[in-house]
C-alpha cells in the first residue's frame, strides 16, 4: 500500500469517513469532521502506525492529509 493510500485510510478512519470521500486537499478547517477529538484520534493512530510517539515539532506540523503522508514517508 502506498504512503498516500495509507495516509488516506488512516485519516478516513479517524474522521469516520469513506476514504474515497476525502478530498486530496483535506485539512484542518476545511472538513467539519476534523474537530479537536478527531485530531487526537489522527495523531494517536499515526503514532500507532509508526510505532513511536511523534515529537513536538512533528505533531504541531500536522494539519492536512499531505502532512500525514509526509510523516509516514519519513518514519513509516
Amino acid at each position: 500500500m502506498s504512503v498516500s493510500t495509507t495516509a488516506r485510510a488512516l485519516l478516513a478512519e479517524a474522521l469516520a469517513m469513506d476514504a474515497h470521500a476525502l478530498p486530496a486537499d483535506a485539512r484542518i478547517g476545511a472538513l467539519e469532521q476534523w474537530d479537536s477529538l478527531a485530531h487526537a484520534r489522527i495523531l494517536l493512530a499515526l503514532e500507532e502506525r509508526i510505532g513511536k510517539p511523534l515529537d513536538a515539532a512533528e505533531a504541531i506540523a500536522i494539519e492536512s492529509l499531505e502532512d500525514i503522508a509526509k510523516v509516514l514517508a519519513r518514519r513509516g
Binding site: 484542518i28 478547517g29 474537530d35 479537536s36 477529538l37 478527531a38 485530531h39 487526537a40 495523531l43 494517536l44 515529537d55 513536538a56 515539532a57 505533531a59 504541531i60 494539519e63
Partner: protein
C-alpha cells in the same frame, strides 16, 4: 482581610452563558471533575477529588482582577459544563488562558473556541489586555488543535518544560500567543 474584587465577567455566546463563578457555584458535579483522571490528565494535574468546601475556598481566591475563574453554562439548561482560568499581568497587559471542559458530552463540540472568542473580545476590548497566551502540553492534542484552529500563533516549543505526574518523565509544552491587533484582523477576516 478580603481582597478587593474587580468586575465579574458576564457574557453570552451563541450557545453558552459565560460568567465569573462564586463560591455558591461549587457543586458535587464540579468536584467530580477534579477527581477524574481523564479530565485532569491532559493538564498534568493529579486527579484528586476536592470537597465542596475546598472548591468554594478555591473559587473565593479569584478576584476578577488579577485572576478570573469563569464558568461555562449551557443557555438552555444553565448546566455548568466547564471553566476558564485567566491570569492577568497588568504591567505587561497579558492574560494567560487555561481551561477545563468537565462535561465530556461537550468534548469535540466547539465549546472552547466559541467561549474563548467571547473572552478574547472581552479582555482585549474592555479589560486592557494586549496579548493573550496559553501553554498546553504538547500531548494535549485537542487543546493544541483548538489553539491552531482559532489562529493563535505558535511562539515556541518548551522542551521538557514540566515533569509528568504519571511517570516523572519530562514533558514538552507549546507556547501559543495572540496579540490584540492580530485578533482584530483575524475577526475582521472571519466575520
Amino acid at each position: 482581610m478580603q481582597k478587593p474584587q474587580g468586575r465579574p465577567i458576564n457574557l453570552t455566546t451563541e450557545r453558552f452563558l459565560v460568567r465569573s463563578v462564586t463560591p455558591a457555584d461549587a457543586s458535587e458535579r464540579w468536584c467530580d471533575w477534579s477527581g477524574d483522571p481523564e479530565i485532569m490528565g491532559p493538564l498534568n494535574v493529579a486527579a484528586r477529588r476536592m470537597t465542596k468546601d475546598q472548591l468554594a475556598r478555591y473559587i473565593a481566591g479569584f478576584d476578577n482582577d488579577r485572576g478570573y475563574l469563569i464558568g461555562v453554562f449551557t443557555k438552555a439548561m444553565s448546566q455548568h459544563i466547564g471553566f476558564f482560568m485567566v491570569e492577568t499581568n497588568k504591567l505587561h497587559a497579558t492574560a494567560n488562558f487555561n481551561l477545563v471542559i468537565g462535561d465530556k458530552h461537550y468534548w469535540g463540540k466547539g465549546v472552547v473556541n466559541e467561549v474563548r472568542a467571547a473572552l478574547l473580545d472581552e479582555f482585549f476590548d474592555r479589560r486592557g489586555i494586549e496579548k493573550a497566551f496559553g501553554t498546553p502540553l504538547a500531548r494535549n492534542f485537542p487543546a493544541v488543535f483548538n489553539y491552531k484552529a482559532q489562529g493563535w500563533r505558535l511562539e515556541g516549543v518548551m522542551h521538557g518544560q514540566c515533569k509528568s505526574i504519571v511517570d516523572g518523565s519530562r514533558l514538552d509544552q507549546y507556547h501559543f500567543g495572540l496579540q490584540r491587533d492580530e485578533w482584530r484582523v483575524r475577526k475582521g477576516k472571519t466575520s
